[in-house]
Symmetry: D3
């Protein structure tokens, strides 16, 4: 087997060969163009200046910068990604889920009030106040949030997720801000309120503020 016929560094689980690849039909794994290993270089595993700078926060006071397989092609098949989250004073990363990943987070600056809700039957809300250096885990698929309780100072966290493409579903956006909107008949009954309350909630929809 010729050394140029393996993509070992890109394949954690899958075996690839390139001899069939042609200029008109590049090799793909999970939809990514795979390079001949002799052409792979360190930049395929690198993203510059990705997570160091404070970023402008959105309407709810947060900004998530996610580095996943779309930013670093070398993550393909490797099942992990990383994010920086900026929080304005009193800002939050609102209740959301990751359909394909567990999240582990540590606080770099400030303090964060974090929590998640367990599945049905219990729907227990487990929360904690985190200080710099504390670590917290949000299990896969559970609704969770982070809130910066400090009215004067911002906060910053680094999070890692157990998928190269964890996905995120911000509950408020998905339930009340979907395109097109979910019928207010359905939501009114689901939330046990009048339609006009749902209509009011749907009216608050704002641009996506989440990774």
């Amino acid at each position: 087997m010729a050394s140029s016929s393996s993509f070992i560094i890109l394949a954690a689980l899958l075996a690839l060969v390139s001899w069939q690849a042609t200029a008109s039909d590049p090799m793909r794994v999970n939809g990514f163009v795979c390079k001949n290993p002799m052409e792979v270089n360190a930049d395929d595993f690198f993203k510059a200046a990705a997570l160091d700078k404070p970023r402008v926060t959105n309407k709810v006071g947060s900004n998530v910068t996610l580095i996943n397989v779309m930013q670093i092609a070398g993550l393909n098949t490797l099942g992990i990604s990383m994010a920086r989250i900026d929080y304005a004073p009193l800002g939050q990363n609102p209740p959301h889920t990751h359909p394909r990943a567990t999240e582990i987070l540590t606080v770099l600056e400030g303090t964060l009030y974090v929590g998640f809700v367990t599945s049905n039957q219990e729907n227990r809300f487990l929360s904690k106040m985190l200080n710099k250096g504390d670590v917290f885990v949000f299990p896969v698929g559970l609704i969770h949030f982070q809130f910066n309780p400090n009215p004067y100072k911002p906060a910053v966290a680094i999070a890692a997720l157990s998928s190269q493409n964890p996905g995120a579903i911000t509950i408020a956006n998905a339930v009340f801000g979907s395109k097109p909107p979910i019928s207010d008949d359905v939501l009114a009954k689901a939330f046990q309120v009048e339609k006009n309350t749902i209509d009011y909630l749907q009216a608050q929809f704002w641009e996506n503020n989440h990774y």
Copy 2:
């Protein structure tokens, strides 16, 4: 190897042996007591009269009867479960997610209006009216619901989930009905409404109505 030393029928992925097992310390896989294969019988893979009877629906007009590994121990390690869902006229299985499973559903009686919302960036709402015999898929971790639009007739569906313990998170219950409640400061900002709207929503919390 003695025939009594393997649990092949219970182990789709894992190898088990029983010779260490003692009366005082029964074998477990995933927390289940594993039987000596000579003692396993058909009842370990069976649940009687589980999914045939219409059942009283809850406040939002549905009732989910899930047969998972807790009802059929033989499902242990096998990664699938099945449910019957009853819908009252105008009833719904409200917006929820399954943190560990994709769902495939078919309508046995009546009609259902179903949909799910895609992840952030899009938050597209994809919906469909289902008639008897139609099949629909809800991808893992996405928020979805089923609604019976008929004001006079009930509906019934059979669903299957790609986990022996899919879990379920009913959005309204988890967000507004958790125990203890999530701070209304956090939710008010997340949903971009006044606290009193959140307080009103939290006041609607009702007993869990979901698998």
Copy 3:
């Protein structure tokens, strides 16, 4: 990352990007053409009138209607499928295996006598008579069947399988009806009978009657 660059709703396990995709070289995952998420619609997760109608049964008195990834492209990577099985009076879904899935089944109409055989060493036959609403599990890879013992009434079941493409191997067809046939020298010794018995069995081969 542009919203048009993710296929989150199609990727339960894999990360995909579409910017490399061109009209002449569409994106694929597992060989399926993946759509730009803005082009995905509910029909990609839907199959109309799939499982409601009784269907003509084959020579052994059954008909399996499987809805897998080939009928619903949205099942790609999601690991589940669903089937309706019709049974004529005294009909059967003959002994078979699914090489890539566990099966969970419930009876919609009539009664079924079902069973499976455990692996070598034991080769124990576990069986049960199922009535409407009962649920039974057939572990991955084990030989199993369903038989309608009623000489006058048909039966119907809904089954789910833990793979988007479970595959099926009907024992009689695969052993005695393969193309080309397996040598009768081999089969005569395997079944400890005379060649003419094998030749007789091979002569019974009939068109495929199974999913």
Copy 4:
């Protein structure tokens, strides 16, 4: 973390700690007693004189010696096993499946005629004559066999399977030799023959001759 608190060498996929373990309640993973890593030794990964000696063959002329997790506890969670197969002149390893593993085989002595049958729709029989040093693959769950066509000389093969407990189902034994027997009504229809043919086949049942 104390060095005595990890079972890294036994855990390919799972993390274990032992501090909870007590004499009265030994640690288990997949039902195996796990040792404190300071107590693990090379013998936990070793089996002496396992695959070198010719062994007496059974009624169909073969003998499979499987080294799996039950012989080498260190294989726990590692997903592989190995076997030696002896074939008498004109002997065979009769049609069987492995519900949890793909098999790769090479011939050490003699020649083997091998084959497998693809899933339904095709049920194609793919076969090959193997000489010393040839390698062949039997995909997971498919019915396959090996036959020694030489009337004078034995044959020997080494096989590896992609599971620490692959399981095996010998078709003839499972279908016609199960305990208790499958109803001849069911089998007669499945194989499209008279009951007396089934009764004759069931009468040929012999002691298990397979891993």
Copy 5:
């Protein structure tokens, strides 16, 4: 199913029930004692002051603080962990591998020269100079290191690994500092040098300096 009978929040992949659990035989998954979900609390997902403080570095000028399932029991089955790495001026996290995880790393302070070597055939060394905020990926199982080229300033990085117990193998320690030592006959030939060179290398063995 009683709410007290599920461990959903601890089971990302596995279903557990506790009714068999007794005081004398607590529930375990992967060897961890599982709690009744009503007894689980936020502390099971939390580690205080874990990653904020600079720590004394070892002989090669680094110190890895890993938060894995042994520090946070709630990580059980969730497949991720996080670490802080301190580097003294000219310090390094020496060449090592993680047998069960890919690593993604970002620089918090200072600069790091990092690299990994691809598998055989190529053995290509891919390296990069990282500044604050840069992100780099080390694929599962490949030999990699980080070096702080600054003779005056320390450096700090946060890394995440795609396993709840990634394991680590420091090459120098494992090859030249194992207990007992590997025979110098073997190592002399492997490294194509005289035994005395190996003996000299083995003499340099020092206390483990790595997660």
Copy 6:
């Protein structure tokens, strides 16, 4: 679904369809061209005369002949491979790791002294002298070697690996023979020796001698 529209025999885990495939854009899974199942034949699962002949050994006295997915396309997605290893008198398969596979090995001829080193904290060296027919296991990702202690006779082993593309990293080649070389500043500190010792070791680099 037409029989020609499934690749069941090539898909252990993934579902494939071919109708989109065109001559100008062949189907691929993991980068392999997939055939229409009617065109697949036994040769896609076969490699002739692969593992029977003694082969010339390299500078350290070994030669590994690996049969993986690059030699047998039918192994695609099936997660196993097999190798023959020849050892000259006093030859060795030097310390190496497989980033994606556990290895199980049996001795065909001669004797082998084998061992592996556990992860950090312990770095325990577990070793064993193997005779013909003995079986030994090397867990995924751990550094291991085999050495033929006999000064007069060669040795031969058959090994199997739990991946269709296990990969291999020979420690000496990767650390001291990478292209380009790793900085001797880094290695000198890592191995706690003078640069000239590292330079001497790097000078010993020789052509790749390993799978």
